[in-house]
């Protein structure tokens, strides 16, 4: 009978020990960069596209590029709850990301910071969703932005000539760049 008592105590002890490990989260909570709208500017700081609380400004020209060509630099700015323009976060945790609807029509060339180039691949229409990436996750995103890729031009006739030596240029349909702390801020009012 003593053996049974010993066995019983041993079993209970084992069961108790089995639940001894700690249980806590392995990731920290993250604060969000909250915006109410987006505004995209051309290299000359002409407004190309603007959306505020889901409503796009239809009077603006929108995003266009010719097939075979790269657009000029497009600046990204944000709008807060008062529709006041604010810059993107200037830290290592946030970066620009995007999804292209049809990667056969459009590509994105990223130069770091809060700006990018459109690269037309084939004539047609597609969509672009821009995101504020925070680690692996989007803190903010645009609605689907229509992008028109016009007819193909010869490379030497493209309005903007791609700088092939730019080491920061990268591309992809789903951008996963982290630590994009390149500041491409331009003075403008």
């Amino acid at each position: 009978m003593k053996r049974i008592h010993f066995l019983a105590i041993a079993i209970f002890s084992l069961i108790f020990a089995a639940c001894g490990d700690s249980n806590s989260t392995s990731t920290e909570q993250h604060e969000h960069f909250e915006v109410e709208g987006w505004r995209l500017y051309s290299a000359e700081w002409d407004t190309l596209y603007s959306v505020y609380r889901g409503k796009e400004d239809s009077k603006l020209p929108g995003l266009k590029v010719n097939a075979n060509c790269m657009s000029a630099h497009i600046h990204v700015k944000f709008l807060d709850e008062n529709k006041k323009e604010i810059a993107g976060p200037n830290d290592d945790e946030h970066s620009l990301g995007w999804d292209v609807g049809d990667s056969k029509i459009l590509d994105i060339h990223f130069e770091g910071g809060w700006g990018f180039h459109l690269k037309g691949l084939k004539k047609g229409e597609t969509t672009l969703i821009l995101k504020v990436k925070h680690h692996d996750h989007a803190d903010a995103k645009t609605p689907e932005i229509k992008v028109v890729v016009d007819k193909a031009l010869d490379a030497d006739k493209c309005p903007f000539q791609e700088d092939e030596d730019d080491p920061s240029t990268s591309s992809g349909t789903e951008h996963e760049h982290e630590g994009g702390n390149h500041n491409h801020e331009h003075d403008h009012e």
Binding site: I4, C19, D21
Partner: protein, 685 residues
Amino acid sequence: MSMKAEITITSTIMNSTLIRAAMGSLLLGGFLHSFAQEFIQDLGYSTVVAEQSSETILDGLREDEVLKAQKLDRKISTTIAETIKNEPDIAIRSMGPAAARPVIKGLSGSHVTLTEDGSFCGDMSATSPDHAVASEVLTAHKLRIVRGPQILSHSFATAGGVIQVEHNDIPFEIAQPQGAPTQSAAVSNIQIHGYITDYAESGQPGFATVVGVNGNIHGLSLKGELSARNMGDMQTPNGTLKNTEIKNKSIAVGAAYSFERFHLGASFRTFNSNYGIPGGFIGGHPNGVDIELSKRDLTLRGLYLPAQKSSDTLSVTFRLNQYHHTEYETKEYVGAEFAVNQENVRIEKFIAQSGPFFGIHFGGEFDIRSVEMGGYVFTPPTNSYTASLFSVASLNGWRDGLEITLSARLGGAFFRPQESIVADKDAIEDRNFALWAIAAEFSQRVAPGKFLTLNVFRTTRAPTIEELYNQGPHLAAYTYERGNHKLDAESGYGAELEFRDYGEIINWRAAVHSTWFLNYLAPRATGDTNWSQILPIYQVSGDDALLMGASASVETVAETGFYAQAGASYVCGFYQNENWSDMPQIPPFKFHGEIAYLWTHVRTGINTEFALAQNRLDRYEERTPGYATFGASLEFHWSLTLANYSIILRGDNLFNADVRNHLSRLKSVMPEKGRNVSILAKAEF
């Protein structure tokens, strides 16, 4: 019931039920069956004489409705919610097949408490539609929907209910398979009982299996059980709903031992689940979300049986629960993470009879819970503490055939949120809630085999930490959720009137219920959008509301030959405002019926289920169309060489109907499971 009560009924079929009613309380996981009170039954005259009953007749009748043995096997499905979906007043809140949770009388979330082996089921399924119930349905030996005043033994929310899952992890009693010849070993000091169950289906192609062994060696009882489930994406009439796979594993071990008048037991159960939440549609995550959860429960239980009256037990149960939940947006990236540590002590005294009262149980429950969050969860880490005292007692003798059950639960809930970068500092506020709920049930036998029951109650519940403090997007649920740290506790007053008739050919019951809620807490679509994430904003608010409903069920009593069964449930809810607008997430009218033929070892039947369209909608809710489905089943049950075997073949939704569940977040994207053929094979020895 007095020391000696005589109950005369007209149906011999009632005998087994009333015998059960006359037996001891079932409140301690069936352990008290061994203290069955003396009873005499006269089958010829359908008379039961019960002595010292510790349970009302009504509770005994309710025990007949518990899903167990063949009745449970017949309904086994992917989840607990799917398995009990055709019980009266039950609906399913879901977001894919894994994240399905029962809804009772139109009430979900923390209105519905789940327990495993009598103690809390530690998971986060009540807090969000994408969170699964952390319990493998195939390992359940019984599923009981607790109704009436007994709810207050476990919860303040009497308007909702409690769903008890019994795994019998602490093997106080080693069950013998019914009908199996007694093993010769049973008369020695060693007993072994084992079971293996396999389940497979085509609607979500895959399988589930459970293997378990119970043994008793010189008074030391042991249990070991393994289960696994591996099911693929759900097949719907419109194609495959991707990212809906489920992979579950569970391990349970338990031991029980007796020292004279003390019985001690312990168990340890782990449950791991990987499941998907679909995506790729407007409002959803592009690739869906993969969720990994793990749960570990350590349970210690002690029973003391007084020498002078061994039925009057004192039990102490301690459960230590660790729950971890991670939501992955991609394979590497964590979208949300939760770590919950919870300890619960439950002390309960049972007294079979004292003065005019019988079936008395009272006790206390104390609970400490800490919740940590990681990733993109916008609720601050919070510790919460709850303490409550409860009591349930029955009496009779005032009027012939009248039994009264009274119950009460008093306590408090205390929330201590911690500072967090994700929370508004003004919202980090300690909150304390005093809670009380009472219920009184009057059950009158109005004629032989006929019972009229009125249950009146006050219901309450404290807000959850998410309802108080959450402030941000919930990507898996595709919502932006706003809590309110100023919320008061929910409360309400209600009543349920039920009639039961146990006849020679059929048994039937019908019930109507109504609850007037003061400050009904629910997340409601505001119509606003969080423009940063482009997610609809849900705000938790407390509103006065009226919830009403009815249910009815009927079944034939024959144990062989023709059998028919049908049931229907309806509920509607209104907010008190100028228009008495409809409450959200209220299930529509639903009917199910079955016709079967029963031989000794074979059962075959056809069944149907239909729901009407839900046109009663809250703001920004979408109408859900009705549906009708048809199914068939074929069962074989037999005993051979010291073992029982069952094979159950089932075909559900045979005509591949487009079924939309009004309480599913995916209803506008894809229908529910289409044509589904399943098989369950079980052996017990």
